[in-house]
Symmetry: D2
Subunit: 364 residues, 4 copies
Amino acid sequence: MKNTFGSSVSVTLFGESHGAEIGTVIDGLAPGLPVDESFIAAQLTLRRPAGKISTARREADPFRIVSGVFEGKTTGTPLALLIPNADTRSGDYTRGAFRPGHADYTANVKYHGFEDYRGGGHFSGRVTAALVAAGAVVISALKQKGILIGTHIARCAGISDAPLGDLSVDLPRLNSLPFAVLNEAQGQKMQLAVEAAAAEGDSVGGILETAVTGLPAGVGEPWFDTLEGVLAHALFSVPAVKGVEFGSGFSFADLRGSEANDPIRKDPEGIRTLTNHNGGINGGISNGMPLLFRCAVKPTPSISKEQLSVNGLTGENETLQVRGRHDPAIVHRARVVVDSVTALVLCDQLAQRFGTDWLGEAGI
Amino acid sequence: MKNTFGSSVSVTLFGESHGAEIGTVIDGLAPGLPVDESFIAAQLTLRRPAGKISTARREADPFRIVSGVFEGKTTGTPLALLIPNADTRSGDYTRGAFRPGHADYTANVKYHGFEDYRGGGHFSGRVTAALVAAGAVVISALKQKGILIGTHIARCAGISDAPLGDLSVDLPRLNSLPFAVLNEAQGQKMQLAVEAAAAEGDSVGGILETAVTGLPAGVGEPWFDTLEGVLAHALFSVPAVKGVEFGSGFSFADLRGSEANDPIRKDPEGIRTLTNHNGGINGGISNGMPLLFRCAVKPTPSISKEQLSVNGLTGENETLQVRGRHDPAIVHRARVVVDSVTALVLCDQLAQRFGTDWLGEAGI
Amino acid sequence: MKNTFGSSVSVTLFGESHGAEIGTVIDGLAPGLPVDESFIAAQLTLRRPAGKISTARREADPFRIVSGVFEGKTTGTPLALLIPNADTRSGDYTRGAFRPGHADYTANVKYHGFEDYRGGGHFSGRVTAALVAAGAVVISALKQKGILIGTHIARCAGISDAPLGDLSVDLPRLNSLPFAVLNEAQGQKMQLAVEAAAAEGDSVGGILETAVTGLPAGVGEPWFDTLEGVLAHALFSVPAVKGVEFGSGFSFADLRGSEANDPIRKDPEGIRTLTNHNGGINGGISNGMPLLFRCAVKPTPSISKEQLSVNGLTGENETLQVRGRHDPAIVHRARVVVDSVTALVLCDQLAQRFGTDWLGEAGI
Amino acid sequence: MKNTFGSSVSVTLFGESHGAEIGTVIDGLAPGLPVDESFIAAQLTLRRPAGKISTARREADPFRIVSGVFEGKTTGTPLALLIPNADTRSGDYTRGAFRPGHADYTANVKYHGFEDYRGGGHFSGRVTAALVAAGAVVISALKQKGILIGTHIARCAGISDAPLGDLSVDLPRLNSLPFAVLNEAQGQKMQLAVEAAAAEGDSVGGILETAVTGLPAGVGEPWFDTLEGVLAHALFSVPAVKGVEFGSGFSFADLRGSEANDPIRKDPEGIRTLTNHNGGINGGISNGMPLLFRCAVKPTPSISKEQLSVNGLTGENETLQVRGRHDPAIVHRARVVVDSVTALVLCDQLAQRFGTDWLGEAGI
């Protein structure tokens, strides 16, 4: 299965940037979960480009749910959700040079030229709108079970945010912010840096850091469905993500065991670790501490500076200047996509572990 | 499926550190692949502890293949391979304090105390011997199709190896080295640093960098089975891997699009990129350039220094000193595990893409 | 995965009888397959109720493809197709007594009362319209590769059709008939018998017999994905199918080995068997002879005769008289659903065996 | 995945008739299930040939469990079990004519001649010993949860057994019988008929009828993982099974809806149906009534009568007389294989529905 992820709870994606509609099917949801359409709309707003640091393409994303919800609650059968593509300007796109850093060339090889090349087609970040809508359904359900997910822009254009502190404060706050940083001043600097890059026809990358609280211990597998593995598998679907690390991640390389091991202590609330270098996962299985991971987001490949490439029709070398409306950064928009993917993966893991009704038990 | 990975070509792992045997079943192999038992043995030797910088546990790994090979070649039906556990000293292990950094606590929660706790049981790095044996079968087959995989210790105990250069030279050389570094002097420094940590009852971490040449363009999926995603999924099963990045990975965060995009050029050999920041993958699909990725390996959690923990039987806090034979570093041993996992994932991807016979076509 | 079937080529179903739309996502299709919307419409017509022997519910099924097709051909990325529900009379349905023979009670237990009960909801035969549309896409593609599928009503209301004869004549003929029988006179008797049952407020069952020609030898697996197993798995999703047999099926019970074994002979066209008791499959793998299988279809459970049941709201016994528009037989409508399911399964098997491009190779 | 079946609980098979060992890996078992090796041995005895009506090949099946069991109970990690092949006489088999009714030809096409042809290799019924051993582990666990499975030889060599009556009596009784019939006199006739066929160098077929009591309502899916579909998928792996029907199965063809629908009634024990034409399944989901299904078993293809075939080496027509030791019937031996497959499928379904611990809860 290619465009479907998950076992007990699965999500399927379809659609192209310039097709009629994009959409998603979420299957295996517990019956009886309240579906709050205004929350879905709010999450889509977080993903939608806004302000000077995003593409000028603006769409209200008037999604509609065509199955799987009855009288405001999930039925337990597949929930299909569609989002029309309203503001498409296909004229901006012609089959021409393969855009460097994009999937144009690889799609062309894989699909033998039959791919819908307009605006990146099925590879477009546009498809993440469906993913965010799908995620919104389960983010609410996880919240009801005490599981909270939040992501901040840990770094953007070379500027760092403050580190995560008290998660019970930081996560709800981040989830309410359109530009998710803990330190507002640093966030201002990031946005100015993005604008500066945009002014030069260029783009910037960044790092997203995610935390999850309330996940029970005992979720995940030793081989091969480690919690790290299944999360990373899904996270690499978020366009532009090129690295995923858990806990201390690449910093582990320079630590000693005595520094890296998290001491274990019993306290009144149960068994915890005094540090969380392992990001809440040991041996592939959650240990009850907050999940912590970071995603590297490469700079948006769509830049208006001149680039070298090959023409897809003629096969000849040429110089390319990408037109169309583009994002000088996507790290701030990708943040809600990362949250959504995380929520979908965790729902699946929890349903596998505790059964298909577990997520809905609060309401049953 | 938990301990099985892959769709067209799948690998299943079983066994515990102190059980009778560990083993693997590889299913979906093309028929007619030569199975070179001496190469399997050689790969197992690369994984096996050796010298001062590894555990004193030594096993000859006298594996045996019990199915799926007939007259020296794969039959196309499941290949099962078993490795007896010879040198087990279970007396070294008793159910006591949860070892920090290990899976003892998470296994205890997940399996309700029924887990085989001796030596980490099914979570033990010992199980990677089966993974290496499985990988050896397909590494040979990939080589016949011109696909070469190699890994070096890019960093260990804070010391860096030289960067990868000409892969046609470096990969074969790395595959012949017991301690896989490009710069021998740096390798010596790493080993001394490991010995120094060991002398203090401590351990060190590192980074493994892998390259794959010869992989055809067009392999992988946009969502969710991106080549990054499926590789990362499997790589996080390698014990102690806590981060995976492709191409420029986390360095992308500080690059601009104009630096990060790989210019595309047509040359006599086909379409290539002038740089390889994307590590051979665009939009989740191979682009014909070398695959490049790095795995962060945390320091071995087994250290002999005193640590704080909780006793698994009494549930009370206590101070723990881990006994038994341990590795002060595993990064040098994990390298062949990473190669093996990579080979298994690529075989599966290639069989999905080109059919179940493809890998064996050279011999059919 | 629940509402998704297949590995290399997969199909996902969603929607309810009285929801806004039903639909399907087909993933993994070879790129470049021509998509003939008029053929899809024609197949939907074969499934659609017509005449006196079907429900009075009539819908034109104005499907639309929202992704995966570009310039008239498959792109290789997911094809999503939606069919609006036009002629719904939800007023006919209220949550009342569980209808005997239907899924009302089991859905109620499984989904804890959150299921959309109207018209059977997601369990409705209505959803097979999406399946037929999905099947139509691949039936055309298989035809281009010389693989032909056809089904006749072998038995209905106790009346038998003539046996299959020369498949190169029978299959194309059956595919053009609205009521798929080889012997027209027997078909007339069947229809009269259905009308007679309808007049009594009752319904009838039957048997569908399917043949597939042109399937290459070597497709299927010994364990567990036998060709019989994967076909049966999918065929039991066709509502009312309660039995599947291959070749001589249940008649094998009374045969001897010397009668049941198919003698093998070499002739100018290759290796064939003189008889086809095994229905084209040995050891779970196709042998190059026509596939032959039969599906038992139970009588439509919706009858207007009085029945005993339990009220879903009160939990009390009551007498039920099912209202609404119903089919006194579905065997004649199910025939195109069986063809569609068969085509989807074979596409998946062929793509697994020969790679993802195989089905489209004619056009590439 | 080919030789692996199941999602939450999966079983993998490997081995060949004349290889060193056959075996199985069961993954996803709840931790804490008691593993009774004497029950495994007893189940293997039921499968093992005995008396005049079976092959002269006799093996004690001295299985060994090499992982996944600790201190007599399942650990929750993969249970691997191996059975050596002791009494192999490979000399009886040479690559010669494809045996009609066997997989020799299809294996040869699929595996390009690299298959282990000796004794049917991986296609051999011998591999079902591993399946029976795997099944034995879960049959015990299901029994602890009140779920009982039993099968009788409903028909053999044209002779019928008595119908199933009170399942609470019949199932335990059948499970204790080496030749599983309800009517002993009919069983004697069957055995005489098998001997008569054997004396003529021929073989006979039959029908196995299985019942399952105690399965909770609400297990299974509407599309595509209907309980019928997943059971049939696995049952068609039992060698020689060519048909599977549920409840009234093919008899539904001649029933009317008013006869076929099972009236629903509330009684003190809950909601039940007065008849069980649907075999305990509506809309693909268990309804709390006993599961009832029947498998058609074709006559053993190995007969000593002369048959027409093609030589696998020369490609020429020839007359074949199969040598070696063969079963004139396998229906009586297949019965415990059917029980085992059923148990494995139900465990998987229950674990998907209620979580991975459910089956072990009695012991946790």
